[in-house]
C-alpha cells in the first residue's frame, strides 16, 4: 500500500535515515520501532509529507508519489496521529474533529447541527462519549488523543500512522484503541504503529521493522521474533549484554533510618490535591503511584513551588520552604524534572551547554559576570557522566532525541546540587536503552545521598525503582507501601479497592 525504497534524509550534523526500505501492507498492523534517534519520527514524517527525502522513492498504491504537504498526503488517504496531541485546544471537539471537512449547507456555510451530530457519531463509534461542543482543552489528555484518533480515521484513510498513541492513555483507553485498530485492520487499512511498549507490539502488531541509527536492521513477522532478540536488535548489542542491562534494576534497598530530607505535609490545592503528605529520606527513592490524573504530577509541582497551594507545608532538611515559589524551592534544594519536556523543560532553541547551565548560572557568576571556564567544566562533566549523545555542547537541544533531551534536563538540575530530586515520568517516551540508563542513574543519585521522588506510569519501573510507594487516588493519599509490600499486586489493590475519596472528587470543604 505505502512503501519507501532507498530513502535517505540528512539534517545538519545528523544522518537521520540512510537507504531505508519500508513497506506497509493493506490489512496489516506494522510495528515501527527503534531507540530514540533511530529515525522513526523522520521516517514517519517522510511518509506523511512533512519532510521530503533527499534520496529515494515513496510509493503509494503502486505508483510513485511526492507529497508536498501533510494536506496532500491526507487527501491521498494517509492519516497520522502524533505522540503529542496535535489539535487546537481552544476550539471545540467537533471543530477539531472536522476542521477542513466541516459539513456545509447550500450557502457554503457550516451546518453546526450536522457537524455536532457527525462528530458525536464518529466518537461514539470509538466508544467515547463527550460533549462535542466543549472546547477540546477541557478534556483529559487521553480523551484528546481519542479525538485525534477519531479525526484520523474519520477521513477515508487507507493508511493510518500512529506515533506512540498510548503514551498518555489509561489501560482502559488502550483497550479501546486496540479495538479500533483491529477494526481498521479488518477494513483493509494499513496501520503503522510506533511504540516503546513491547507488550503492546506483541498484542496488536503483525509485522515489525526495527530501525537503528537511521538504518533498517530487521523486518519481518513479529511472531517470529522473540522479545529478547527484538530488544537486542534495537540496542544493537549481543543478547548476553542486553540481558545484563535489562536486569540492571534499582537495588531498592536504600537506608531508611535517617531523618527525612523532604517533608511535604497536608498539601491541598482546590480540586486537585486533598491533604497529601509525603516524606523522603536522603538516599531514598519514594514512588508516587496512582492512575493518570490522581494528583501525582500536581503533588510534585506543589512541592517544587510550581503549583500554588491553598494550604500545607513543605520542609526541606528542617527548614520550611515558602510554597508557590519556584525560586524559593530551588534555593532550598528541590529540583523538579517535569513531565512535559517540550512545554516545561528544555529550551529547544538554545544549545546543550546553555540548557545545562541555565539554572545554575546565578551560582556560577561572580559580580554578575559568568565564569565561562567553570561552565565548560560542569557541562563536560555531565555530558560524559550522563552519556549525552550530541554533536557537541553547542548543538541545539531541539535537534536531540527525547532521551538525550531528558538527560540534558537532568544535568541542568544536578548542576544545582539539589537535596531532593522530583522526577515526573523520567523515562516516558524514551527508548529501552536510554530508559535503563536513566533508571541506573536514578539509583546512583540516591546512593549519593539524594532524596528522590519518582513518578512513573510504568508500574514495573515504579515498583522496581522505589523503596516506598505512596499511592494517590483522586488527589489524596490512599496507601503507603513499604518493604515487602512494594509489589505491583499491592499497588493495583491499593488503587482499585481504596475507598473512593469522594470528598476530594466533589470539591469539598471550601
Amino acid at each position: 500500500m505505502l512503501s519507501v525504497t532507498g530513502v535517505s534524509k540528512t539534517f545538519p550534523g545528523v544522518r537521520a535515515l540512510s537507504s531505508v526500505d519500508f513497506t506497509a501492507r493493506t490489512g496489516e498492523v506494522h510495528a515501527l520501532i527503534g531507540e530514540n534517534g533511530a529515525g522513526k519520527s523522520t521516517l514517519i514524517k517522510v511518509l506523511t509529507g512533512v519532510y521530503r527525502p533527499d534520496e529515494g522513492q515513496v510509493t503509494y498504491d503502486g505508483s510513485p508519489v511526492r507529497f508536498a504537504t501533510p494536506l496532500e498526503a491526507q487527501h491521498a488517504g494517509i492519516s497520522t496521529i502524533y505522540q503529542e496531541v496535535n489539535l487546537v485546544p481552544l476550539m471545540t471537539v467537533a471543530r477539531n474533529l472536522l476542521l477542513g471537512r466541516e459539513p456545509r449547507n447550500r450557502l457554503g456555510l457550516i451546518d453546526f447541527r450536522r457537524m455536532h451530530r457527525t462528530a458525536d457519531e464518529a466518537l461514539r463509534g470509538l466508544g467515547i462519549r463527550v460533549d462535542v461542543r466543549r472546547p477540546l482543552r477541557e478534556l483529559g489528555v487521553g480523551a484528546q488523543q481519542m479525538v485525534a484518533l477519531a479525526r484520523a480515521v474519520s477521513v477515508d484513510a487507507r493508511v493510518v500512522v500512529m506515533d506512540e498513541p498510548t503514551s498518555s492513555l489509561e489501560p482502559r483507553e488502550v483497550r479501546t484503541l486496540f479495538e479500533v485498530i483491529r477494526t481498521l485492520r479488518e477494513r483493509g487499512i494499513a496501520v503503522i504503529y510506533v511504540s516503546h511498549r513491547l507488550d503492546e507490539l506483541y498484542e496488536i502488531c503483525d509485522t515489525v521493522t526495527v530501525l537503528r541509527d537511521g538504518k533498517v536492521v530487521h523486518t519481518g513477522r513479529i511472531a517470529d521474533l522473540d522479545r529478547l532478540r527484538l530488544v537486542s536488535l534495537m540496542l544493537g548489542r549481543e543478547i548476553g549484554v542486553v540481558r545484563d542491562e535489562g536486569l540492571t534494576k534499582f537495588t531498592g534497598s536504600h537506608d531508611t533510618a535517617v531523618e527525612p530530607v523532604l517533608q511535604a505535609e497536608e498539601l491541598t490545592v482546590r480540586h486537585l490535591l486533598d491533604g497529601v503528605s509525603v516524606a523522603v529520606r536522603p538516599g531514598e527513592v519514594v514512588g508516587l503511584g496512582g492512575l493518570l490524573g490522581s494528583g501525582r504530577t500536581e503533588t510534585a509541582k506543589a512541592i517544587a513551588g510550581a503549583l500554588r497551594t491553598d494550604s500545607g507545608r513543605v520542609v526541606v532538611a528542617g527548614t520550611t520552604v515558602r510554597t508557590g515559589s519556584t525560586p524559593a524551592a530551588i534555593r532550598a534544594g528541590i529540583s523538579l524534572l517535569p513531565e512535559d519536556r517540550k512545554a516545561e523543560g528544555v529550551l529547544p532553541g538554545l544549545s546543550v551547554r546553555e540548557n545545562i547551565a541555565l539554572a545554575a548560572l546565578p551560582g556560577l557568576s561572580r559580580f554578575g559576570l559568568v565564569d565561562e571556564a567553570r561552565i565548560d567544566r560542569i557541562v563536560d562533566t555531565f555530558m560524559t557522566r550522563l552519556r549525552i549523545k550530541a554533536a557537541g555542547p553547542h548543538q541545539k537541544v531541539g535537534e536531540l532525541s527525547g532521551g538525550n533531551q531528558q538527560k540534558v534536563l537532568l544535568a541542568r538540575w544536578l548542576a544545582m546540587h539539589p537535596k531532593v530530586l522530583l522526577l515526573d515520568e523520567p523515562t516516558r517516551g524514551i527508548d529501552v536503552g536510554a530508559k535503563a540508563e536513566v533508571q541506573k542513574l536514578i539509583d546512583e543519585l540516591a546512593d549519593d545521598g539524594l532524596g528522590v521522588l519518582l513518578i512513573s506510569s510504568d508500574t514495573e519501573e515504579l515498583i522496581e525503582g522505589s523503596d516506598r510507594v505512596v499511592v494517590l487516588k483522586d488527589g489524596a493519599v490512599v496507601a503507603e507501601l513499604t518493604g515487602d509490600a512494594v509489589t505491583e499486586d499491592r499497588l493495583m489493590r491499593a488503587i482499585a479497592t481504596a475507598p473512593s475519596a469522594s470528598t476530594a472528587a466533589g470539591g469539598p470543604d471550601d
Binding site: L71, N86, L90, M91, G100, G140, D474, A505
Partner: protein, 340 residues
Amino acid sequence: MTADVESPVHTVSTPEEEALGAGRSERLSALAQQHGALVTLVVAVIAASLSFDTFLTGDNLENMALSSAFLAVVALGMTFVIVTGGIDLSVGSLFALGGVLAAWGSRYGTVVALLLPLAVCGLIGLVNGLLIARSRLAPFIVTLASMLGARGILLSLTDEGSTTYLVDKDSFFATLGQSTVLGIGAPVWITVALFVLGAVVLRRTRFGQYVYAVGGNEDAAALMGAPVARTKISVYTLSGLCAGFAGALNAAWLVSGVTILGTGMELDAISAVVIGGTLLTGGFGFLSGSLVGVLLLKVIQNVINQIGSLDSAYQQVVSGAFLAVVVIAQTWLGRRRRVL
C-alpha cells in the same frame, strides 16, 4: 472504581476531570471574558446618561455612532488578524491613505473613489501577508514597515500634506457618507452590515475555522491540513481592505481626504479588539466583542468631553488605564480557564 459508576457519561474522562465537574467557575470565567465588555458598556452608558443630560440625546448618540463606524470597520479586519495570533500596525496609515485616494479618485466617479483605495490598501495588506506567511517575518516588523511606507505614499500624493483633495458635495460618493436612512447615517448602516457579514465569515465558514485554528495552534493546524499560509495572507489582505474602505467612507463623510487622520488609529483598533475579549495570543475572539470595544472607547471619550473641566488629554490616560484593567482581567480570567 466508584468514580466511574457515578459518571458513566465520560467514558474516557480522568478522575482529575471528574473532580472539576462541569467546571462551573470556569464557565463563569468564560462568560465574563465573553460578555465583560458588553456589561461594562451598559454600565457606562447608564452612568453617563444619569450624569449628563446631554449624553442621551439624538445628536450626541448619532455623533458617537458615526465616529465609531470608521474605527469599527478597521477593528473588524484587526479582529481577524489578532485571532490568527498576528498584529497589523499599518491600518492607521492605510486608513488615511484610503481617504486621500478616495477623495482624489472621486473626481472620476464613485466607482473609482471606492475601488482605488480598496485596490491600493488591499495590495499593501496582501504584501504584508505574503511577507509574514511566506517569508516568515514577524508581523510586528512587517506591518510597522508598511505603516511607515503607506504614510510616505500619502505624503507624496498630497505634496507633503499641503494639498487636500475635496469630494464634490453633490456626487453620489458624498451622499454615501452623508445621507441618512431612518435617521441614522449611511456609514453606520454599512458598518453594521459589514459586521454581520464578517461574523458569518468568522463563525460559519471553513475559512473562519482556519483563522481560529491557525491562532490556536499553528503547528497543529498545519498538521491537520489547514492552509496556514493562505489563511494568514487572507487576514492581512482583509485588514488592509477594511482600513482602506474605512478611510474611503470617512472621506465621503468629511467630503475631503484629510491627511492627518489615522495616526495612532491602529492602537485604538487593537485596544478595541482586546477590550472586546479577543485574546492577543490568538485562537479566541469574536467580532461582536470588537464592536462593543469600539463603542466603549467612544463612550469614554464622549464622557470625558462632556466633563468640560477635564482636559481632553486625560481621555487617553483613561483609555490607557482602562485597557490595562481589561488586559489584567482577561489574563486573570484566562488563567482561571487555563487558557493562557
